[in-house]
């Protein structure tokens, strides 16, 4: 009796389960999985949207890796940006989170103020403003002149500095990793710090021995997500610098967009997208594989 009941139940679960996830399942196949395969095929063709795709073998990849200096320049710019912006953002986020991790009055107001830039930061409106902020007549030059350093360069138009205006914009939006760090910090039991204080541990020692290890899973999560976001940054580069000067901010996503939707080289752009996917997958894998060396999981310590 019991067995038949559970069998009926199993069938019902099967039917209900797939009924509930069917929406997602349909979307996954029609808008993600099949498009992915199609884009894989396209990356071996020349396709301009008007005439049917023409098979070109590995030609796109050969061009990409050996004959297109702009490609490598965009790879370099993207890594430069991500490697500068992501750690900067995370360090500021962690520092501010630690300062705000108190019971003092007004903390929730500060938290909201620090988070506000993340709310608007990736919009076109802020990008438009940022361009003026660092323009010839912008805030930075005015400030420099006030403190006695004459300056009238366009920071977004100078190949030495343009990428840094974008890195600064990214660092400015430290709000969401800050919130994640804050809730992580709240879960560290206070007794740990108290007993460390009794043992005479310094603030730095407490940070290295208690805060960092206990926060490491959160840091790992933030690192992966922020790295991916850093690698696919698009809006600020298009609006603020347009990929200029001298292609120093021609980030990967921007270059891919231009190849695909301005030059209509859909095959080449698909190839670029697949390389991007592989790089992100490898990157994530490396971070997770090495994480066992530096991420501390409480449950893994024989509890």
């Amino acid at each position: 009796m019991r067995a038949t009941l559970s069998k009926a139940r199993k069938i019902r679960n099967l039917r209900d389960g797939y009924a509930f996830i069917s929406l997602w399942l349909f979307g996954f196949f029609s808008l993600t999985f099949i498009p992915l395969l199609f884009s894989f095929y396209l990356s071996f063709t020349d396709y301009d949207l008007l005439t049917p795709p023409v098979w070109s073998g590995l030609n796109n990849f050969v061009t990409m890796f050996t004959k297109d200096p702009r490609y490598w320049k965009s790879v370099f710019a993207t890594f430069y940006y991500a490697i500068a912006a992501v750690p900067l953002r995370l360090v500021v986020a962690l520092a501010v989170a630690m300062i705000l991790n108190t019971d003092r009055k007004g903390v929730s107001v500060y938290r909201a103020l620090y988070y506000a830039p993340s709310i608007v930061g990736s919009s076109v409106a802020v990008a438009v403003m940022w361009r003026q902020y660092f323009g010839t007549e912008g805030i930075l030059n005015v400030l420099l002149n006030v403190i006695g350093i004459p300056s009238n360069i366009s920071w977004t138009g100078d190949p030495r500095f343009a990428i840094w205006t974008l890195i600064l914009l990214a660092a400015w939006q430290f709000g969401s990793p800050m919130l994640v760090f804050l809730s992580g910090l709240k879960q560290i039991p206070n007794e740990l710090y108290e007993s460390a204080s009794i043992d005479g541990a310094s603030g730095l020692r407490k940070f290295v021995k208690i805060t960092l290890p206990l926060l490491s899973p959160v840091i790992l999560f933030n690192l992966v997500m922020q790295m991916i976001h850093g690698i696919i940054v698009f809006t600020p580069a298009l609006i603020i610098t347009g990929g200029q000067p001298l292609d120093t901010t021609n980030f990967y996503a921007l270059y891919l967009y231009r190849r695909g939707f301005e030059n209509f080289q859909m095959g080449y752009a698909s190839g670029m997208a697949w390389v991007l996917l592989v790089v992100i997958a490898l990157f994530t894998m490396v971070i997770f594989k090495t994480s066992s060396n530096w991420v501390f999981y409480e449950t893994g310590k024989g509890r």
Partner: protein
């Protein structure tokens, strides 16, 4: 060492904390305040009294000029388009994601693990990889220059919201659904009448997230909307502030600030929901 806890020392510490933290906060939101202030400055003032946050002669002329838009289309059109797209996207993605989240969180069925892993993997998938084949596909359906490519995909749920809602559903005691099942309720009934009422708060949080991401989205809107009549605010602002075009910075700042206003208001009203949402999905990831 006794002075370390003296009341005076404590007060000084508190004062220092508030002074430094609010000074840094001011620097952080200064750009937003600057944008707002500049939008109320007359043309002569914007680049002459650059640092000032208080216009000497506040004016609405920038808003009047900016609202005229371009190509015979006012910003009213772009606002309307942004509202249509954001509201429909949000409505669809929240309804579909809630249904899917229930399936993943509460029903044990063969294949669930694989599909769940597939779903989580899509979280890491860059938009760039899907955008070309999807563009070709929607082009084939003659959907370019309509809102459909933006709205229809939302009918099938999105991993971020599904995961967020699942986290919440897992926190609801299972006995609740089991009791309903014992009483002979169908799954659909249990979902609609027992769980759905409890899911209102996280659905609301998810809706705020969705609205503000749709509102700020740029890449997909840029690709699918080439007809100025269909421009959303993001796309319109880009054309409006084109470096080769006009240089009425007052008008550009006014429309930029106006486009941020809905998300800022939403943020000020519901910041608790947003901050909790980020904390909960972030940690469990």
């Amino acid at each position: 060492m006794a002075s370390a806890t003296s009341p005076l020392r404590k007060k000084l510490n508190t004062f220092l904390f508030h002074f430094l933290v609010s000074a840094f906060a001011f620097i952080m939101i200064y750009p937003i305040l600057w944008l707002a202030a500049s939008s109320f400055k007359p043309a002569g003032e914007i680049w002459t009294r650059v640092l000032s946050l208080i216009p000497v002669e506040p004016t609405l002329v920038n808003y009047v000029n900016g609202w005229q838009g371009f190509g015979g289309l006012t910003f009213g059109v772009f606002f309307k388009n942004s509202i249509i797209v954001s509201v429909l996207e949000t409505l669809f993605v929240i309804i579909s994601s809630t249904i899917v989240a229930y399936g993943f969180a509460r029903i044990e069925f063969p294949g669930k693990k694989i599909w769940f892993s597939c779903m989580m993997a899509t979280l890491m998938l860059p938009v760039q990889i899907k955008i070309i084949p999807q563009y070709i596909f929607f082009g084939y359906l003659k959907w370019i220059n309509t809102f459909l490519p933006l709205i229809v995909p939302k009918l099938f749920g999105e991993a971020f919201y599904i995961f967020m809602l699942m986290q919440f559903i897992r926190g609801i005691p299972r006995e609740l659904d089991e009791a309903a099942e014992m009483d002979g309720c169908s799954r659909l009934y249990t979902f609609a009448h027992i769980l759905l009422p409890l899911l209102k708060p996280p659905m609301f949080t998810a809706a705020i997230f969705s609205f503000y991401w749709s509102w700020g989205d740029f890449l997909t809107q840029l690709i699918y909307l080439n007809n100025p009549k269909l421009y959303t605010l993001s796309v319109a602002l880009r054309s409006f502030a084109d470096p080769g075009g006009m240089t009425d910075w007052g008008a550009i700042f006014a429309m930029s600030f106006l486009s941020l206003l809905p998300v800022l208001v939403l943020f000020v009203s519901f910041q608790r929901y947003l901050t909790q949402g980020i904390a909960s999905t972030g940690l469990k990831g």
